[in-house]
Amino acid sequence: MAKGDSSVRCFQGLLIFGNVIIGMCGIALTAECIFFVSDQHSLYHLLEATDNDDIYGAAWIGIFVGICLFCLSVLGIRGHHEMQAENLLLFQYFILMFIVYAFEVASSITAAVQRDFFTTNLFLRQMLERYQNKSQSNNDDIWKNREVTKTWDRLMLLEKCCGVNGPSDWQKYKSAFRDVNNDADYPWPHQCCVMDTLYKPLNLDACKLGVSGYYHSKGCYELISGPMNRHAWGVAWFGFAILCWTFCVLLGTMFYWSRIEY
């Protein structure tokens, strides 16, 4: 097939269009992953403490993959425009695309698999073990305990929720919190109480007894798992969609290169 044929030019046009889409998707992936890495809900420390923070790693890979996809799409368009007999640009395009493809595959699979770790028991166990845990075992633990305590305090105060499933978590299970606070004064943390405008409990006695209206009986799990699931799904499945499109474009480019280019 000659290079000047109209069907060949049409095919070339399609591949250029495919590369344009890859470039735009790359920018979109970068923007989405920057949004996730910026951690708008400040939930990173809960994951860091359970050593399950790989979805942030997947998002970081997504940022760089997105930029690379954009640059490579420019290279691909340039490669299709080359009129020389020996076109090394497309060969370089393939090699670099494989590398980027492999990284994006890793990122998508990591995000999809890690999402399945987010169960109520994971966060419940971490909360019971680390919240207000003042033991001085090692620096890493001290740091994690402090961050988990700060995150839970902020979550319970601002989102008006208590515990993972509800305030009964503090009653049903032994915890580090229970070891430092006596049950009569602190059946659950005072951050679970309904607060007035000065962030003082409306009625501390009513809150301690669990009278409805004076304490938050809603659990915080939905508020934690919601953003994290969206994060993981966004990275995993948008990455998967880009990879499907890139797969088709790469196959078409290989066909073009082997049958038409030479």
Partner: protein, 178 residues
């Protein structure tokens, strides 16, 4: 030591008897069950001002702790939930109960009153109340919630990667042959 002052909130409807009165457990009705304490209803209104002795003992023991307090005044009658102030958008409910604390989680207790007012002594029925059992953190299972999504994505992407590598090799071979 247990609290000596009753906390204010819900009230309980009580039967009036001659020298005996009935109490019922209100723990868990309007507030969640607790592991180291429970709420016991106060003696009825006619015993206001008397000295109440609340005996709490474990099921399989013969002696228990006695908590003494003065029976507080009633506001009208002792109802389960009495609306004290209602103003369209919010309602204030009052609860009158006695909170027994420093109990052992997951145990059953027998609770009974003996009230002395003037020359009369009235006692109540014996009510069985239990505290919530408390589990260890290690009993929480940490299994993954396996979904089909991760199988799908792994399989599809691995196959795609493999096909791309095969396609590249084929393209190289075909191109070199020309």
């Amino acid at each position: 030591m247990a609290f000596l002052t009753p906390t204010l909130l819900l009230l309980v409807l009580l039967d009036l008897g001659a020298a005996e009165f009935n109490i019922s457990s209100i723990s868990g009705l309007l507030s969640p069950a607790l592991a180291e304490s429970f709420l016991v209803a106060l003696p009825p209104c006619h015993l206001t001002g008397g000295t109440a002795a609340l005996t709490v003992r474990r099921i399989n023991e013969t002696t228990g702790l006695t908590h003494n307090f003065i029976v507080p005044p009633c506001r009208g009658r002792r109802d389960l939930v009495s609306v004290v102030y209602s103003s369209g958008s919010f309602t204030v409910t009052r609860l009158s109960a006695y909170q027994v604390t420093n109990l052992i989680p997951g145990t059953s207790y027998y609770v009974s009153y003996s009230v002395v007012k003037g020359n009369t002594i009235e006692s109540s029925n014996r009510v069985r109340m239990a505290t919530l059992p408390r589990r260890k953190v290690e009993t929480l299972g940490l299994g993954m919630a396996r979904t089909g999504g991760m199988i799908v994505i792994t399989v599809l992407l691995s196959v795609a990667m493999f096909l791309l590598v095969v396609g590249f090799i084929v393209a190289l071979v075909l191109g070199a042959r020309k």
